[in-house]
């Protein structure tokens, strides 16, 4: 494959220049307008001396600006690093430094921008987007000025080296060893084409996107729709599902994607049957297991819509398997089979292939498997062995070759659309002087899949209150990382070798 997602987008610009590419609040941006923005960004970066492979941070919510900056970075030969906009300055600066970012595109209203600028601006040029807040914007280049400059077309021939890194997605913020999943142009292009193929996406498709582009799921929605000349309707969050459904009807979208909590909210807080979904062709779910009972209920509510169950992980670019809608009833609970271009195997602890019905670890090979974690060969070596990605997810095949997830051989917590390393939260809580030890786990939750629970051994009994721990977390962590449940104990349960028995802490009673 010699083409990149930028080539795919350029193709859409050539074929559908006047079609709407992105809708965001009252902005309706055509493919030609989007391309002009991308050219301006690429031109700016060249003028500022960007060299091939330079990392560029993006601290911008889902918006036409995010898309133009992302593709502009790729078109200029850089590596786009989409940053979690709910993260705090400590994580953000840690990631920017870890990848050695030389440029940052940031929303001027981002509350952490001041702190980032104070610590990183000597090594990094910052472009401010949107209305100036209280920042000293004189230190920044401004987005609207970049767009005003007449730009030349980027030379896409320079980025046909498809194995070169294109994007980094940070999946954990631990101070010692942040994990930046590094994806090549080939990873993005291959995964994009596979998804387009199995969803049957064309320029007639459109989607209301509620998932952040800085996560792999949202990232794949962006690339697939722009590659086919489709339309992205951006919603900044999913707090009011009723509003999102109205937008879907108003914009006559053909698709919708979400994580299990998205669908739990739709089923629990909306009357799906009352909406006119005559234009809606499919809905898709990934990001964790959705209970089969919820899937069945969903099919009863909107029987005319195809429902795709999908599976993947950031290390696999986004998607690794899918279950075709026509198999949904017969194979309910399954995550389907490998997507085109990916091979999946189930292997036991001795690396032997498992037979149908026997649980083992899902291993993936193919164009979608990441290059590795940025600047972390040891961490990469633990998950990629002989070219196979060890996903950490446990599953089995049935006799027909359909995969079923049985659990996860990992401490990672999945809550809503987020994947969180317990270590990040433990590090922050351990900074409190009243804390002797802490262990963080995910406990089952009907809506979010899991919620975060912290079990704390205080230095002196009664020295800490739940609220003060949560306040400390709130100050130092993104809102979704604040533990909902805090328990105090005298000892953490441990194995003979001293390892915390996390499974014993996962009891929510």
């Amino acid at each position: 494959m010699s083409e990149t997602v930028v080539h795919f987008l350029k193709n859409s610009v050539s074929r559908y220049p006047c079609s709407e590419a992105v809708i965001y609040n009252d902005q309706r941006v055509s493919y030609l307008q989007l391309w002009n923005m991308i050219c301006s960004v690429a031109d700016y970066l060249h003028t500022k001396g960007l060299e091939r492979g330079d990392r560029v941070g993006l601290l911008v919510e889902n918006s036409p600006e995010y898309i133009a900056a992302y593709y502009g970075v790729l078109a200029a030969g850089g590596v786009a690093v989409g940053l979690n906009t709910s993260a705090k300055a400590a994580d953000l600066t840690n990631w920017l430094r870890h990848c050695g970012a030389r440029y940052l595109f940031s929303s001027l209203k981002h509350p952490e921008l001041d702190d980032i600028a104070k610590t990183c601006s000597d090594d990094m040029s910052i472009v401010g987007i949107g209305e100036p807040g209280k920042q000293a914007v004189s230190a920044f280049d401004l987005w609207h000025e970049i767009l005003n400059n007449k730009a030349t077309e980027p030379r896409l021939a320079e980025i046909t080296d498809v194995v070169m890194p294109a994007a980094i997605i940070y999946t954990s913020g631990t101070t010692g060893s942040p994990k930046g999943v590094t994806l090549s142009h080939s990873n993005l292009a291959s995964n994009t084409q596979s998804i387009i193929e199995y969803l049957g996406l064309t320029h007639k498709d459109s989607i209301v996107s509620v998932l952040p582009f800085y996560y792999s799921f949202g990232n794949s929605i962006m690339h697939t729709h722009l590659a086919v000349g489709g339309k992205l309707v951006l919603e900044s969050n999913f707090m009011y599902p009723h509003k999102t459904l109205e937008k879907m009807v108003d914009e006559k979208v053909t698709g919708f994607s979400g994580v299990p909590s998205t669908y739990a909210l739709l089923l629990g807080r909306t009357k799906l049957k009352e909406y006119d979904f005559s234009k809606l062709r499919y809905m898709a779910q990934a990001g964790g297991a959705m209970p089969p009972a919820s899937i069945k209920r969903f099919l009863e509510e909107v029987p005319e819509v195809d429902f795709y169950v999908m599976y993947g992980q950031t290390e696999g670019t986004a998607r690794l398997s899918y279950l075709p809608p026509e198999k949904l009833i017969n194979k309910i609970g399954s995550i389907g089979k490998a997507i085109p271009g990916v091979t999946l195997e189930i292997r036991d602890e001795n690396d032997k292939l498992c037979r149908p019905g026997v649980t083992g670890e899902i291993c993936a090979k193919g164009d979608s498997v990441m290059i590795g974690y940025w600047n972390a060969p040891d961490a990469t070596g633990k998950v990629i062995k002989d070219g196979w990605l060890r996903t950490g997810d446990l599953a089995h095949y049935d006799e027909d070759g359909y995969l079923y997830i049985d659990g996860r051989d990992s401490d990672m917590i999945k809550t809503g659309a987020h994947r969180i390393s317990p270590k990040e939260i433990e590090e922050v809580i351990a900074r409190l002087v009243e804390v002797e030890e802490v262990a963080v786990v995910g406990v089952p939750d009907e809506l979010l899949g899991q919620v975060i629970k912290a079990t704390i051994v205080p230095t002196i009994e009664g020295a800490l209150e739940k609220k003060s721990v949560q306040a400390h977390c709130r100050k130092n962590l993104a809102i979704y990382k604040v533990p909902k449940i805090i328990e105090f104990t005298n000892d953490l349960p441990r194995t003979a070798s001293g390892k915390v028995k996390r499974f014993l802490l996962q009891d929510n009673n």
């Binding site: 707090m239 009011y240 009723h242 909590s261 809503g416 306040a471 809102i479």
Partner: protein, 81 residues
């Protein structure tokens, strides 16, 4: 205690984890300020039921009713009239 005091107290206590009144303005948008996320809004709805016996219908689940202390107070007062 007034409706506003109860609502402010609940938001401060459960989402900002503080008693400091200056941390929250009654006009602050929960969405824009990152005070509450999509699961948090369900907790707020549960609180309205428990504290004020106010049922939030699906079509009432909109920012105009729920996205700030002022909006919540106006909504509760309208529903309990």
């Amino acid at each position: 205690m007034s409706v506003e005091e109860k609502v402010r107290g609940y938001i401060l206590d459960n989402f900002l984890f503080t008693d400091d009144q200056s941390e929250l303005s009654s006009e602050d948008s929960f969405m824009e300020k990152g005070i509450i996320d999509s699961s948090g809004i369900l907790e707020v709805i549960f609180f309205l039921g428990e504290e004020f016996k106010v049922q939030v219908e699906d079509d009432e689940m909109v920012p105009e009713n729920l996205d700030s202390v002022n909006n919540l107070v106006a909504f509760v007062e309208k529903k309990t009239k």
